[in-house]
Amino acid sequence: MDGLNKFFEFSGFANATPGHIIMLLIGLFFIFLAIRYKYEPLLLVPIGFGILIGNIPFVENVGLNLGIYEEGSVLNYLYQGVLKGIYPPLIFLGIGAMTDFSTLISSPRLMLLGAAAQVGIFLTFLGAIALGFQQAEAGAIGIIGGADGPTAIFISSRLANGLNNTQNLIGPIAIAAYSYMALVPVIQPPIMRLLTSKAERVIRMKPPRTVSKTEKMIFPILGLLLTGFLAPGALPLLGMLFFGNLLKESLVTKRLADTARNSMIDIVTILLGVTVGASTQASVFLTPQSILIFVLGALSFIIATAGGITFAKVMNMFLKEGSKINPLVGAAGVSAVPDSARVVQHEGLKADPSNHLLMHAMAPNISGVIGSAVAAGILLSFLN
């Protein structure tokens, strides 16, 4: 029965390896987390299902064109958006069209916390080098500390894409970034309690002032010019982020902003999620590097959190009574918008049930996004 053999050879049963099974379980776990605990469902569901699709065992390079790494396969075409770094800027466009920068404009000094937290990126970068990764790869790994999925994917598509003798680490880096972003509520609280005294945790802050429409319109324009001149490498990300935000704030392009923050970002999210997931084919994903990347990622989140909090405490030394900053707010500097801001809110309530820090936490939270994009831009110009 030659026919039956051929069928069997092609079936998943003939080609399954322990690796496939492990990855399938991971995929199921992601989906479980998303549905059961609502951890980043809009990302974990597509990524999780993508992991399943990518790890159904099939024969590669027999013209079947199923694998995401096989030229001519549908997945491979859709994966180009990740590989060429096209999806992340489009997602930033949508984000800009849905993000309100008011809090950041009204209390600009809190932006510094968003800068401070980026220490996680650079220490992780050094750590990765110490662990033997090449500079370029190390830069991509470091950005995990930016707690920003699209930024991590974009920079790894540029620095750790398997070209000019780097390894293709896009999959592991993306998965690590999103996993830890989902786990922020688990990772941050202990560090926050460790580094702050009860007295600090109960500090109350003045409510931010209201912001005028004009200020909101000017922000994306000045933001672009400033960051663009300092770190042109960040343009693809920040250019689109501020573009989307101007579409929103100009008040004369409402329909474009609506499309950007709805159907457009949804379509890109679906394609990005499922292809990033599928790119974790066991053969490519289950390597010692991946494990190291996950370790480094965890560290970078911890360092970033500590960095934000510590800097807040340092600032307090120079601030007079009444205008002091609640150091918990510093933890929001890692971004992972808006989870870390919510963690701050939650920890603040624990210390003083009537002290709402959410709005204050949003400023470092969002500036953390700008901060890590700038960091990405710098690393790109130095390392590519």
Partner: protein
């Protein structure tokens, strides 16, 4: 071009036969699985039921459980405190929109954003 049965080599017949067979196998298997799924689920539910008790209130989950509405409400009230122009309708809007939240960073940003968008 004429209809020529002799063109039907064994190979093609095999393919047709096996193909049809596999189509059946797949759907028969799906049949068996979903015929028994309810039973399996009940079993799991009973097991899950016990886990629930543990899972229901650990730090993580509880952190997560600050429900969107509550939070939006907080954000709103916080906001109303220093916002200038706002009215009942807006507030309602905010609370309602909580479900439609989204962000590639997190699916909860939008609820927070909405409440801020109010002072536009």
């Amino acid at each position: 071009m004429k209809f020529d049965l002799s063109a039907l080599d064994a190979d093609s017949l095999f393919i047709a036969l096996i193909g049809y067979l596999i189509v059946f196998i797949s759907l028969v298997l799906l049949y068996f699985i979903f015929d028994n799924l309810p039973r399996v689920l009940n079993l799991l539910k009973r097991m899950a039921a016990s886990n629930e008790k543990l899972k229901e209130n650990p730090p993580v989950s509880s952190k997560r459980n600050v429900p969107g509405e509550v939070n939006a409400a907080i954000a709103t009230s916080l906001h109303l405190y220093f916002s200038e122009m706002h009215d009942e309708e807006f507030t309602k809007l905010t609370i309602n929109k909580v479900s439609r939240n989204y962000s590639p960073w997190s699916s909860k940003i939008y609820s927070v954003m909405r409440s801020q968008m109010m002072n536009k």
